[in-house]
């Protein structure tokens, strides 16, 4: 080993990097690029939704009247709050306050679970009302076909979003474990920060889903 290859030792520095700064930049850029792929992934669905909404405004308005708005609104607040606690968790990690970090991670995860619980309640209500396509779907005859399309898209979009939430909860569990074990230090906060980026992204997807599925056209009597 040449002398210049010896750096200040850090157990968190992977062998391929020269220093912690490079590692952090790479990890952050990597997560941003990943989020770009996620935008394109959901983008395919958003395009599909927009095309059909544009073609069948009446049916989509009628179907969106069946959404439980108070549940969607509550969930929006729950998720935005969880983004706040996530940001506070990152801040706590940077300060090196492990206790606070773990507290905020736990609150974030709890809010994520509340979101999924309310979502599950909505799914159950829609199942009871026969609004699940392919499972004895029922709707007023005029809009039957295209309302089914709306609900197909609704379940696909919110289902994929919920899957991302579940993956997010898994990531947060690992973060909690690492915080508990002391892997996260003020010098090494990358995992918390890039997990936070992911969590915020999943929130933002919901910020778009909520008005598209629940709100647009509500004032129109379809």
């Amino acid at each position: 080993m040449s002398p210049e290859a010896v750096h200040t030792y850090s157990p968190a520095l992977a062998h391929q990097f020269d220093d912690a700064g490079q590692q952090k930049e790479a990890a952050t850029l990597g997560m941003w690029v990943f989020l770009v792929t996620e935008v394109l992934f959901f983008g395919g669905l958003f395009v599909t939704y927009l095309v059909y909404r544009n073609w069948y405004p009446g049916a989509f308005t009628a179907a969106s009247h069946e959404m439980i708005v108070w549940a969607g609104t509550t969930n929006t607040f729950v998720l935005i709050t969880s983004s706040l606690t996530m940001a506070l968790a990152v801040h706590a990690a940077q300060l090196g306050n492990r206790r606070l970090l773990m507290t905020f991670l736990i609150i974030t995860m709890a809010l994520g679970c509340v979101f999924l619980g309310i979502k599950a309640f909505e799914y159950y209500s829609e199942y009871v009302e026969h609004h699940v396509p392919g499972m004895g779907f029922q709707f007023e005859a005029e809009h039957f076909q295209h309302a089914q399309l709306f609900f197909s898209l609704y379940f696909m979009m919110t289902g994929l979003h919920a899957l991302h939430m579940i993956i997010g909860l898994g990531i947060m569990s690992v973060m909690l474990w690492w915080s508990y074990r002391g892997v996260i230090t003020p010098e090494y906060t990358n995992p918390i920060e890039i997990s936070g980026l992911y969590w915020h992204f999943v929130d933002i997807v919901w910020i778009f889903l909520f008005p598209l599925l629940y709100l647009i056209g509500r004032h129109v009597h379809g």
Partner: protein, 539 residues
């Protein structure tokens, strides 16, 4: 090259021998070889289907296989070759091996992710092989709805899931390459000092990252529509089948550039090395790669000229498709200008590079035919289209892949292959390729449709020529498999830079040590300085 040269005492190939040292490796060079083995397997599986297709088409009547079997054959040929060979071919093998070497880094930015993407690729491959063994799939590699979601009774779901899964491997590879090229370059290696191979892989990675998620969601929608009877594309459930085509080609047209851009990058390395000249117009070649990647996302509609697209959209897509010819031609002209007054050596990689330039030009020009609305309507779904995209994918992408594999083989293996056999087989491949696919241009223009196992007797002569060419092509691909494997053990030791090429990858030993460079190099020179002797670079 004298045989007294010895392999370096310590290199990535002798750094551990057990199966675990390979399957759990995080070394980009070993992962590249894992990919090499896997894609070679899928290449010969896909090739076997091609052999059966050409066997069937030697006679006008459908006598060798049934029409249903034939549908499955061309589907599995397309799926295997596109998703499991062509898309990962150069990026995952040569790119994986060379990016850290070319930028003077110890590894890619995310080595574990790199290994994970290989495992994801293998998992997707198993899904697809399962679909194949348990009965096959007959939708064509394009999975057009509503046939794929409603009518087909074959294994659409496992195949679609296989492609969905493999997509994540592409995404992770692209992500890894982008971050590596941005953040891991050695001191002094500015963007415009990078080898052009890296520019083309960067452009390819952009397509991986921006395009692949869309095919992933599309395949997921197809699978969900089949499983749960959700009606995204089924007209009876309110969906629109043409929307599927839009989503599919939004990825699958740029995917063509995923296949050909890396091959262009390989040619940009080989041509200066064997002409002993700097590349002509470096920034133009570099930006042409990015331009192809960007324009590639704006032309998908030319696959839908006959699918019920508005005439205005069709005209715009036609014009945009023509624009792709500009950066493509910039590259061809720059390679040609590089060769002008160069001292050209006709070694195997150069033969492949020249083959690439000629065949890519034919493939590209016939692409302009297809971008022209009236001609496209005439030849849609005929063998003209088949011939066109095989000139790009086989004549272009595979020629580039073979050229690159030969060019860097001494670096990868530390040994030299048999040059005589290599030249012979390059010639055989070139001949066999043209004999296979040139008659298909004529067949298509005369009106022979694709995807039928029988055809009118007047097409037989051209079809027999094509099948004869395919058998020659098959032999051409088997010979390199033999002599390259042979060279692994018996080839002459190459030394670190057998052809006197420039570039960081030639400054380390062959095979390189696990950490690539004993000291991080500091780059003070431009790329392709063939007008200055190599020694002056290494201070």
């Amino acid at each position: 090259m004298s045989s007294t040269v010895l392999l370096p005492p310590r290199h990535y190939l002798n750094d551990g021998y057990g199966i675990r040292s390979w399957l759990l490796t995080r070394d980009h060079k070993r992962i590249a070889l894992l990919y090499l083995a896997a894609i070679t397997f899928f290449f010969f599986v896909g090739g076997a289907f091609a052999v059966m297709i050409r066997l069937e088409l030697t006679t006008p009547i459908g006598d060798f296989v049934s029409d249903e079997t034939y549908n499955k054959l061309f589907t599995m040929h397309g799926v295997m070759m596109v998703f499991f060979f062509l898309v990962p071919s150069i990026p995952a093998t040569l790119g994986n091996f060379l990016i850290p070497l070319m930028i003077g880094a110890k590894d890619l930015a995310f080595p574990k992710l790199n290994l994970l993407s290989w495992y994801i690729y293998i998992l997707g491959g198993f899904f697809t092989l399962y679909a194949l063994i348990s009965g096959g799939v007959d939708t064509g590699w394009t999975f057009y709805t509503p046939f794929s979601t409603v009518s087909s009774t074959t294994n659409v779901i496992p195949t679609a899931l296989g492609i969905f899964i493999t997509g994540f491997s592409s995404i992770l590879t692209g992500l890894n390459f982008i971050v590596t090229i941005h953040r891991m370059r050695a001191p002094g290696l500015t963007w415009f000092r990078m080898p052009l191979f890296l520019w083309s892989l960067y452009a390819t990675s952009l397509i991986f990252v921006l395009g692949t998620p869309v095919i992933a969601i599309t395949m997921l929608l197809v699978a969900v529509e089949r499983i749960f009877h959700f009606g995204f594309f089924d007209p009876r459930l309110g969906g629109d089948p043409v929307l599927f085509q839009h989503l599919f080609w939004f990825y699958s047209h740029p995917a063509v550039y995923i296949m050909v851009l890396p091959a262009m990058g390989v040619v940009s390395e080989i041509v200066p090395a064997y002409c002993r000249k700097r590349i002509f117009g470096y920034p133009f070649v570099a930006f042409a790669s990015v331009a192809i990647a960007v324009l590639g996302f704006l032309v998908w509609g030319h696959h839908l000229f006959v699918a019920g697209e508005s005439p205005y959209a069709a005209m715009i897509f036609s014009a945009l498709s023509f624009m792709v010819a500009i950066p493509s031609a910039v590259k061809v002209f720059n390679w040609t200008a590089t060769m002008y007054k160069g001292s050209i050596s006709w070694d195997t990689p150069m033969l492949y590079a020249i083959g690439f330039i000629g065949l890519f030009t034919i493939g590209g020009l016939t692409g302009l035919f297809l971008a022209t609305l009236p001609i496209d309507v005439h030849v849609t779904d005929t063998y003209f289209v088949i011939a066109h995209f095989h000139y790009i994918m086989v004549g272009g992408a595979i020629m580039g892949y073979m050229g690159g594999l030969h060019y860097w083989w001494p670096k990868i293996s530390g040994r030299l292959y048999n040059e005589f056999l290599a030249k012979i087989s390059a010639g055989i491949i070139f001949l066999g390729f043209n004999l296979t696919f040139f008659p298909q241009f004529v067949l298509g223009y005369l009106g022979m449709p694709r995807r039928y196992h029988a055809y009118p007797p007047e097409f037989q002569v051209l079809n027999v020529l094509s099948s004869a060419g395919a058998s020659i092509l098959g032999v051409g691909y088997l010979i390199p498999l033999c002599y390259l494997l042979w060279s692994l053990r018996y080839g002459l030791v190459a030394g670190s830079n057998p052809i006197g090429a420039v570039g960081l990858e030639w400054m380390t030993t062959s095979p390189p040590p696990t950490e690539n460079f004993l000291e991080t190099p500091i780059v003070t020179w431009e790329a392709y300085q063939y007008d200055q002797p190599m020694e002056t670079h290494v201070a």
